[in-house]
């Protein structure tokens, strides 16, 4: 039986662990060492970006510096990860020839992962492989992996979450959750898991390492002997430390910040609300990651997590999204009650359409505060827009015009200023005083042959009433509002009736930007 080495390099800093990866891989490429299973841990905690990622885009650098978290770059591909002291890293370094491959494939990843899956089963957990290269338990990721090669050697590595501080990870990485609300933290907790949570106790490191070692022995039909770093490896390691500690390595990849976009959209399907948040590399036009939440029912529970995994790394174009989503639902045995594949395609495509917003001087964060109905932003901006619809909730609470269509433009609230901006563009402002008034105004505009409108409302209102806007069919651009809305305060019934008593704030900067893109003089 073949003999491989098992090497435990203990607890080390991020730079040491990264330099060791490179040193051991080089030693293997030079055929100085046997195939090796290495265990590694980190102290201080570390954030590690993938080889091709940019620190600025993936990491909350200030938070990490203030909290003593190391930042470094892996030699392997994949996404940014947070490695706290409790986690265990595992990796296999070997010759491609010994595993009979020249080009690494998903089946190769599957084979290496199957050793760790075998280990998790020994611990009593039903783990499985999720393409392209994660290990999961009931849809929740417990081990993410990545790899690289050099000459005839390869290195394939993974994390194993033992115990995990989700909040700390969210603070250290730029994961697109906005305010770390409980709900957002829960949605992340839904997607990852760790040994302590699954087993109900924290197994000892020795037990876990032993299980992984046995898993590799069974899958690869080998025997392990315990070894240490060789003299050659130690020399290579020492020789690489300066490089892996250097800014040149850590900040090797710098992309302009605008290339990483977070795009959001929501859509009310028959079976419930779907919200999608995409992280997109706009230069490469690729979806880096997708987060899909909502109040629909999916069977099995893992459906959405698998869909998110399927959308990863695909081209950020409608035809690619369509192909992927249709293929996913056709072949996977997945079902979402009263939500069709078309609903998912629509909401994702709509989020993607925001890639174009910077062309209109609208920044990334602003892009998610603009909603459109019955057309894309580009289409609507080409139309003649003669009317601005403003919500009464933005007027002063004590204003006697609060529930009237008019405004005296006294300057005490944002509505007056919005009216002035509109008039400067020959656009007629009007206040919407309740839901019926909105529907009546839109219908009237439609009858009068008005091509499109600009309006302002909160995201919750837009999401809930999008179908009503679509039924009337008038294209429009809606700008989000600030401050606590009726929906934040659970007072939508009062708002519907026109008796909501809080004051919101219009986003005047965004309104100016939208108006600056309306080229043709608009007339009612």
């Amino acid at each position: 039986m073949k003999k491989w080495r098992v090497l435990d390099t203990g607890i080390r800093t991020a730079a040491e662990n990264m330099a060791l990866d490179a040193a051991i891989l080089e030693a293997k490429a030079k055929e100085l060492i046997p195939n090796t299973l290495r265990f590694l841990r980190f102290s201080p905690p570390a954030v590690l970006v993938g080889y091709h990622q940019s620190i600025e885009r993936e990491v909350r650098v200030n938070f990490c510096c203030q909290n003593g978290i190391d930042i470094n770059r892996r030699i392997t591909g994949g996404g940014a990860i947070f490695f706290d002291r409790s986690q265990l890293g595992w990796e296999l370094i070997g010759s491609k020839e010994s595993l009979n491959f020249s080009v690494a494939s998903e089946t190769f990843f599957r084979k290496v992962c199957s050793a760790v899956i075998c280990a998790l089963r020994k611990l009593g957990l039903e783990a499985s492989f999720r393409p392209k290269n994660d290990i999961e338990i009931d849809g929740r990721k417990i081990s993410g992996t990545g790899g690289t090669e050099e000459g005839g050697a390869f290195l394939f590595q993974g994390t194993l979450l033992m115990d995990f501080d989700v909040e700390m990870m969210l603070k250290a990485l730029k994961i697109p959750v906005e305010k770390l609300k409980d709900k957002e933290i829960e949605s992340v907790k839904d997607r990852v898991t760790w040994l302590k949570r699954e087993l109900g106790y924290l197994p000892s490191l020795g037990e876990v390492k032993g299980a992984i070692r046995k898993g590799f022995e069974e899958v690869f039909q080998v025997e392990f002997f315990e070894g240490n770093l060789t003299a050659e490896e130690r020399d290579l390691f020492q020789g690489k430390m300066d490089e892996f500690r250097s800014d040149k390595w850590i900040h090797k990849v710098r992309y302009p910040a605008h290339e990483r976009q977070i795009l959001k959209s929501s859509h009310k399907a028959k079976g419930g609300l779907i919200r999608v948040t995409l992280v997109v590399n706009s230069r490469l036009r690729r979806i880096q990651s997708a987060l899909i939440t909502g109040d629909f029912f999916a069977f099995p529970r893992r459906t959405i997590f698998d869909l998110e995994a399927a959308l990863k790394d695909i081209e950020a174009r409608e035809e690619c999204v369509r192909k992927k989503v249709l293929h996913f639902f056709k072949n996977g045995g997945y079902k979402v009650l009263d939500v069709s594949p078309e609903d998912f395609i629509e909401v994702i495509t709509e989020a993607l359409s925001k890639i174009e917003y910077p062309r209109y001087g609208i920044s990334l964060s602003e892009a998610n505060r603009i909603f459109t109905v019955n057309g894309t932003l580009e289409e609507i901006l080409k139309k003649n827009i003669p009317i601005l619809l403003l919500p009464y909730c933005a007027k002063l609470k004590g204003c006697k015009f609060r529930y009237e269509k008019d405004c005296t433009e006294c300057g005490k609230c944002s509505v007056g200023e919005a009216c002035r901006i509109a008039r400067g563009k020959e656009i007629v402002p009007t206040t919407i005083v309740n839901f019926e008034d909105l529907m009546g105004t839109l219908k009237m505009c439609k009858t009068q042959g008005i091509e499109a409108f600009v309006g302002s409302c909160c995201e919750a209102f837009y999401t809930r009433h999008r179908e009503d806007f679509e039924r009337i069919g008038l294209p429009g651009i809606l700008i989000d509002i600030d401050n606590n809305t009726c929906y934040d305060l659970s007072k939508e019934q009062q708002a519907y009736a026109g008796t909501f008593e809080n004051q919101t704030q219009l986003k005047l900067d965004l309104l100016r930007k939208i108006f600056s893109n309306i080229s043709s003089p608009a007339r009612m």
Binding site: G50, I75, S102, S105, E106, K132, T148, E150, R286
Partner: protein, 150 residues
């Protein structure tokens, strides 16, 4: 162009055993990866290209490519100076998959030791046999599953 078990192979090219192809164009050599690489690795998402004017040695890393969280290293088939880089790959790395022998070329190298280095590469009748063996090896290990789905 021939088809070997689902992989397109340009017989007249030179190959490294890591599936990098080389095409002689006068004193220059155009370089890319073969169809087998694209179909086996999956869709490429990033390419790290060298710069024009860089000098490379045969067998040295020429470019790094990423697919499915794997950073693959492509080696130079010949030594020389890089005189042209395919910048289209910067925006769309998947050209390596879509058109490996055409729009997916990687660099043009002005070779300095062409004749002797070409002898180190797989060419002529040996190409077919080598590729057939590669596919059989992958089939034996079960690595072929993905290619059949592709």
């Amino acid at each position: 162009m021939i088809d070997i078990k689902g992989y397109r192979v340009e017989e007249e090219l030179y190959y490294t055993k890591d599936h990098v192809w080389a095409k002689v164009e006068g004193e220059n050599v155009r370089v890319g990866v073969d169809d087998y690489t694209g179909k086996t690795a999956g869709e490429f998402t990033y390419v790290d290209l060298p710069f024009e004017g860089d000098e490379v040695e045969q067998g040295e890393t020429l470019a790094k490519v990423q697919s499915s969280k794997w950073v693959g290293k492509l080696v130079a088939p010949v030594s020389g100076e890089i005189v042209e880089v395919n910048e289209a790959l910067d925006r769309d790395a998947s050209l390596l998959n879509k058109d490996p022998y055409g729009k997916g070329w990687i660099v043009l190298i002005k070779a300095i030791n062409l004749e002797s280095e070409l002898r180190d590469l797989i060419s002529g009748d040996a190409v077919k046999d080598w590729m057939r063996l590669e596919v059989e090896k992958a089939e034996k290990e079960g690595y072929r599953e993905k290619a059949e789905q592709a």
